[in-house]
């Protein structure tokens, strides 16, 4: 066993998956990720601010690197326009969002799960950005690598969502049970015939870095055609923008990751993600020991919202969603404003949700 924190697992996993540059700046509770990156990543740069961070990452990504940063809401908010830029330019990168208590600077050293709805609408136009969320140390390992894979395969920024209690808590952990991580295949266009920066092959354009001199590369954050040339609103350019949405929605179907611990005959199900999933595991375990039949769903692919979750939830008379906010953000994503009567919510502000709290809602 080793005494380890989630931050170390995430950075080691990212590096093994092929991430080779970290752009950082200090922000609690993401500082350990920054510190470990300095020890591990081939390139580690200290940016002067959040906008520079994302711009530097975009530049590095355009040269063929796979850059990473880690931040929390106050920094993330300042990155949003540049993440939109990277999304439009179709540049692979990973942004680790370590949630903490808001609004604004809130409490830097207090965990929270309050940023999911922000992520759902952060790309102008409402286009989805891939979001995967860690719920335990195994996820810190596997989903960090998955983020790199998604970023490279789909040419897109990916958000790895986590929270203070996951990246700053040490646990005894058996490293030998971690699965081997394959390096993501960051393929470059290798044909001699004409290259168009935004001509899709199976929805995703072939990538070429700005550093080669076989083909001209045009990268563009404004509405553009397949060549990458700015257009006002030609059919080709709008088709390109439409493709961005379809690419993520379609391709993320093969990155549907969740844990469904189904109990035969259960009429109730607990749904929880992120840090609260640990309390949910304990709650379900205690309920079962007491003879109560209950299932557990831990969604890990959060955005775009997989319809598969609703298919699972259709089987239950009672759904208890537990997440560390006041407003049931996952419930809103799944059910909109007309939440069904069978849905119950237990939340918390400024403290972790306890297993007892969840048990109470299931009863």
């Amino acid at each position: 066993m080793a005494l380890i924190d989630g931050s170390r697992l995430i950075i080691e996993s990212l590096a093994r998956a092929g991430a080779d540059a970290f752009i950082g700046y200090p922000i609690t509770p993401a500082n350990l990720l920054y510190q470990y990156s300095g020890q591990r990543m081939e390139i580690m740069l200290a940016a002067p601010d959040e906008i520079s961070t994302l711009q530097w990452m975009s530049g590095l990504s355009a040269t063929g690197r796979i850059p990473v940063t880690a931040t929390s809401f106050p920094g993330f908010a300042l990155m949003v326009e540049s993440i939109n830029m990277a999304y439009m330019m179709e540049l692979p990168m990973v942004i680790i969002l370590v949630q903490r208590l808001g609004p604004a600077t809130g409490t830097a050293t207090n965990g929270a799960q309050g940023d999911l709805l922000l992520l759902n609408g952060m790309i102008s136009g409402g286009h989805p950005i891939p979001v995967v969320c860690t719920s335990d140390f195994e996820d810190c390992w596997s989903l960090a690598a998955e983020s790199v894979k998604i970023a490279v395969q789909m040419r897109t920024p990916v958000i790895l969502l986590t929270s203070k209690e996951e990246v700053m808590t040490y646990k005894s952990f058996d490293l030998s049970k971690l699965e081997k991580i394959e390096k993501a295949d960051h393929k470059f266009y290798d044909k001699d015939c004409e290259y168009k920066s935004y001509k899709p092959t199976d929805m995703v354009p072939d990538f070429l870095p700005l550093t080669q001199n076989r083909h001209q590369v045009r990268i563009n954050a404004s509405t553009h055609d397949q060549m990458g040339i700015l257009q006002h609103s030609t059919d080709e350019a709008l088709a390109n923008t439409r493709r961005l949405e379809e690419k993520i929605r379609e391709k993320m179907k093969s990155h549907l990751i969740y844990t469904y611990d189904r109990q035969e005959g259960a009429e109730a199900i607990v749904v929880s993600y992120g840090i609260t999933a640990s309390a949910a595991k304990d709650a379900v375990s205690e309920l079962r020991q007491a003879g109560r039949k209950v299932s557990l769903l831990i969604p890990k692919t959060l955005l775009p919202v997989p319809a598969a979750y609703l298919d699972i939830l259709d089987n239950y008379q009672r759904i208890v969603i537990a997440e560390e906010n006041m407003n049931n953000q996952l419930g809103s994503l799944l059910f909109g404003v007309s939440k069904p009567e069978r849905l119950r919510f237990t939340g918390a502000l400024g403290k972790m949700i306890t297993p007892e709290q969840i048990i109470e809602e299931v009863k």
Binding site: R8, E42, L45, P48, I51, Q55, G59, T63, Q216, L230
Partner: protein, 422 residues
């Protein structure tokens, strides 16, 4: 392979716009330098200058308003291939928005060039004042004349550390100046002063560019810093972060039957966090699972310092502690911080230093002198006292952890043994 930088002579700018001159002379300079178009990465952003992309045979990347210097910096960081040239086009508006990005690239002396198209206003959005608009210059947003002097972008970049900075008037053949700028190893910036034929001329009738330059004190010139170009200064890298996380083998056994939550609560400087790590590893050496987290104010050198631990024979999922089983208090700061949770305890044990007044609690209160061999070891002495009293695992698990962590000579182990009568 195409050797022309531009793919057309007909550029998309207004008649008389200095941007046309800049683009054509940039191309002329690069061609004279013998650079192949695909060894050139042109970074543009929002503003009239940014519509040049489609006329270029180079690589192009078109980003956000004012951010091209930072985007270009990212590209410069990523280039390993020799002979590449990163050129950032930016307007005076963009240079205002992204001033920090220019200064940072200059400070680091990144290998790139920034070309500031200074036509003294935001042209694309209707002729508003920018941070580089000269005093007295009329714009859409300063119809009585700009009340402030503009930034001297050249002086700022030079002061920030740019290897080469030049200012030219956007008239005539400026390609030689571009060649000098582009040939610089490290960060270079060239500011080209022009007048917007649409808004600048319209709002400032009769004013000549030379007179505006003279009045504003932004005369042509060049400034240099003798500097080494940026390179990645990498410290020693680990090829595996787990190498710094040693495996802990269970050499002892534990008598723990049920999960136990422990809070160590003291003051900064009392070794609370280190004690927590020693206790965690000692528990692991005794075959237990643990979770450990710290809590302290942002001013880490003063005030309370608290550590929360969970110990269990089973895998631990939820690691929060509402009502602890054990609290170990070594100082007034620690007592104040944990008082509420101590008050909620209906069972368990409170270990508290004899200098403190125990609060109301349902826990069994055990008072001892934890500060007897100094404040710096108060937390460790108290924690080992707790291990001894509870018997959850052998005290030798703690002492062997101290040795294994290389702390045997740094911590007063013998004094602790004596104080505890072992």
């Amino acid at each position: 392979m195409n050797i022309n930088i531009l793919n057309t002579d007909s550029l998309p700018f207004c008649k008389g716009c200095g941007h046309d001159l800049i683009s054509k002379h940039t191309a002329k300079a690069l061609e004279k330098m013998g650079l192949s178009p695909l060894d050139v990465i042109m970074v543009t952003d929002i503003g009239c200058h940014g519509i040049i992309d489609k006329s270029l045979n180079t690589h192009t990347i078109h980003g956000l308003h004012g951010r091209s210097a930072a985007l270009g910096a990212g590209i410069a960081f990523g280039i390993q291939e020799p002979g590449k040239k990163v050129i950032v086009f930016i307007g005076d508006g963009g240079a205002t928005i992204g001033l920090q990005h220019i200064l940072e690239a200059a400070r680091l002396n990144l290998n790139m060039t920034v070309v500031v198209h200074n036509n003294m206003l935001y042209g694309m959005t209707g002729g508003q004042s920018s941070g580089l608009t000269p005093e007295g210059f009329h714009t859409t947003t300063s119809m009585e004349g700009n009340p402030f002097a503009g930034y001297d972008i050249c002086a700022l970049a030079h002061t920030a550390g740019a290897a080469y900075v030049a200012r030219v008037t956007g008239i005539g053949d400026i390609s030689e100046k571009f060649i000098k700028t582009f040939s610089t190893e490290g960060f270079s910036l060239i500011e080209v002063i022009e007048i917007c034929p649409s808004y600048g001329v319209k709002f400032n009738p009769g004013r000549k560019l030379s007179e505006i330059i003279e009045t504003s004190g932004r005369n042509p010139g060049e400034w240099v810093n003798d500097r080494t170009v940026f390179s990645h200064h990498q410290g020693k890298k680990a090829d595996n972060l787990f190498n710094r996380t040693p495996q802990i083998q269970p050499l002892f056994s534990s008598l723990l039957e049920h999960p136990m939550s422990v809070i160590l609560s003291g003051s900064a400087g009392e070794g609370v966090q280190l004690t927590a790590t020693i206790l965690s590893k000692a528990a692991m050496r005794s075959g237990l699972n643990i979770t450990q987290k710290g809590s302290y104010p942002v001013t880490v050198g003063v005030g309370f310092s608290t550590a929360e631990l969970n110990l269990s024979t089973d895998e631990i999922h939820f690691h929060g502690i509402n009502i602890p089983d054990i609290v170990v208090v070594t100082s007034q700061d620690g007592l104040a911080h944990s008082k509420k949770r101590i008050g909620l305890m209906t069972k368990g044990k409170l270990f508290i230093d004899q200098s403190l007044t125990p609060p109301e609690t349902g826990a069994e209160v055990i008072v001892s002198d934890f500060r007897s061999i100094g404040a710096r070891t108060a937390s460790l002495l108290a924690a080992i006292f707790f291990v001894k009293e509870s018997g959850i695992f052998p005290m030798e698990a703690v002492f062997s952890t101290i040795e294994a962590e290389g702390l045997g000579t740094k911590l007063p182990v013998e004094k602790i043994r004596t104080a505890l009568g072992i």
